[in-house]
């Protein structure tokens, strides 16, 4: 899933300072799951804006609403009335959702209320871990399901660097060394010899290095 965190409320309040009618628009997908931009957070942000503006003597008309999925045009239609009434929209969706809003409601300004961080998984309540960089070329079969591109801080393709110690990455003792995990898993499945082969340089053209990516599936196009 896409992981995001809500921007500090003070930042959101400052961003909408000059507007009289504000819509805080949540998204019912990933940001709801990671508790950054669902219905609850949209209401919280709207209340915070309202309280801050009252305190400042500049009351504001602020509404909170959540659509099922901000990253698709068709779901955005359900919010049309609220969007058209507002002076500005604060989107609590991920970066894709915010951009979809700005494309769909071209005459309305939609501002980001979250920082979109990464693609990852919730390992426990309140903890998310980056597991995929979306580089466009999975090698997970070669590394038995642990991604060296996302989980090695240096995205190395040929094993751990010299900074790996006690299973931790040199960047932080809080971070597991992805290659340490790969080596252990290789040993577990008696496949360590697979790491003897020198892997060639990674082809980064399928990642962002090839420019913004576009996928076309002719077979499913209408």
């Amino acid at each position: 899933m896409i992981v995001a965190e809500r921007k500090p409320l003070s930042e959101i309040i400052n961003a909408v300072e000059k507007y009289d009618k504000v819509l805080v628009l949540g998204c019912g997908e990933c940001v709801t799951v990671c508790m950054a931009g669902g219905q609850k957070e949209a209401k919280e942000a709207a209340s915070a804006i309202s309280i801050a503006r009252k305190k400042a003597g500049k009351p504001v008309d602020v509404k909170a609403h959540t659509v099922e999925r901000q990253c698709e045009f068709e779901y955005l239609e359900s919010a049309r009335e609220l969007v058209e009434e507002a002076d500005v929209v604060v989107s609590l969706a991920c970066g894709v959702g915010i951009q979809t809003m700005n494309m769909h409601y071209d005459d309305m300004l939609t501002l980001p209320g979250v920082n979109t961080t990464f693609m990852g998984l919730p390992t426990q309540q309140g903890v998310w871990m980056e597991n995929c960089l979306g580089c466009g070329k999975c090698v997970l079969e070669e590394t038995l399901g642990i991604c060296p591109i996302a989980r090695c801080s240096k995205s190395m393709v040929n094993g751990p660097c010299g900074g790996s110690q006690d299973g931790k990455c040199e960047v932080s003792k809080e971070t597991e060394c992805g290659w340490h995990l790969i080596v252990e898993r290789m040993m577990k499945f008696d496949k360590l010899s697979a790491l003897e082969e020198v892997k060639p340089p990674k082809d980064w053209s399928t990642s962002h290095s090839g420019g913004p990516r576009k996928m076309v599936r002719e077979d499913v196009k209408l």
């Binding site: 995205s155 751990p160 790996s164 003897e196």
Partner: protein, 305 residues
């Protein structure tokens, strides 16, 4: 083609000594020359670090040229951290054109550690790819993309290994892989935990790697208790046992104890089968290198023809 002093030394079978010089955070040529003079004649070749610990310093290629001008033999370090494959291959050609023959391939410390923590780490290649790239440029005369070099280059390829990093069981195999990729010589991370180094060397010998490439064991003279503690606690991939800390702590003359310890380490390393020499990293204490080499019986350096 003429060989670098290091290449001759590697062939000679003599106990090799390489030193290290950290380029300054300035464009002061005289500083590089000063340290070059201190190390010249005392070591067989001088490593020039490449933005060590991700701190911006004068480029290793530029410093290599300064040492060439002084008649010294540089080993320029190239890390994968700051350059993509275009820049790396370009720097290799540039270095070769300047008469620099020895290139040491490293991944590089993460930019997090340095003075530009917000930098983008490039890591287009990894250190293994880098070694293989240099070998292919030299032996096959091809760039990574497959295009041919317009003329051959003559370079000596170095690689590093860290016996103190984990997973320990994999480290000797990883070294074997670097040798397979094309390394002509190896320098190790600085040794303080001799037991672990010996265990690693056992595995290296078992795999026969020491017979394929000369392995230069890394040593660092400890200048102060603070330096020892810093290396123990803050330098990634380094193990400094408590006995070493205690020994420096208990010594009246800390610097002298550091030198003594370093000389003892070298004397010991001379006896380890498969160790072809040492790589002496003085880390801003270059002044002490001649004394250490003298006391460790490494001087005068043999002439290699």
């Amino acid at each position: 083609m003429t060989l670098s002093n290091l290449q001759k030394a590697l062939k000679s079978g003599e106990f090799i000594v390489t030193g290290e010089l950290g380029p300054p955070k300035s464009a002061e040529r005289d500083k590089i020359e000063h340290h070059g003079h201190l190390l010249g004649g005392v070591v067989d070749a001088i490593n020039l670090t490449d933005n060590q610990t991700a701190i911006v310093r004068t480029s290793s290629v530029a410093c290599g040229k300064i040492l060439i001008d002084m008649g010294l033999d540089p080993v320029i370090q190239i890390t994968c951290r700051d350059r993509n494959r275009i820049a790396i291959q370009s720097d290799v050609l540039g270095a070769a054109a300047l008469g620099i023959k020895n290139i040491l391939c490293l991944q590089g410390d993460h930019a997090n550690f340095g003075n530009e923590p917000n930098a983008k780490n490039v890591n287009d290649l990894d250190s293994m790819n880098l070694i293989q790239t240099l070998k292919n440029m030299r032996d096959e005369e091809v760039f990574i993309g497959g295009e041919k070099l317009e003329a051959p280059i003559d370079i000596c390829i170095g690689a590093v290994e860290n016996p103190f990093a984990d997973p320990f069981e994999y480290r000797a195999y990883r070294l074997a892989k670097k040798v397979e990729a094309g390394a002509d010589f190896i320098q190790t991370q600085a040794i303080f935990d001799m037991d672990r180094f010996e265990r690693w060397m056992e595995k290296v010998r078992e795999l026969g790697i020491h017979k394929k490439v000369p392995i230069l064991a890394g040593v660092i003279p400890i200048k102060s208790l603070g330096a020892a503690r810093y290396m123990k606690n803050n330098v990634s991939g380094m193990i400094v046992p408590d006995e070493i800390i205690d020994r420096i702590k208990g010594a009246e003359k800390k610097k002298e104890e550091g030198v003594k310890l370093c000389v003892e380490m070298i004397e010991h390393l001379k006896t380890v089968e498969g160790v072809a020499g040492i790589h002496l990293m003085a880390v801003a204490w270059e002044e002490i290198v001649p004394e250490i080499c003298e006391r460790a019986g490494l001087l005068p350096r043999p002439k290699f023809d």
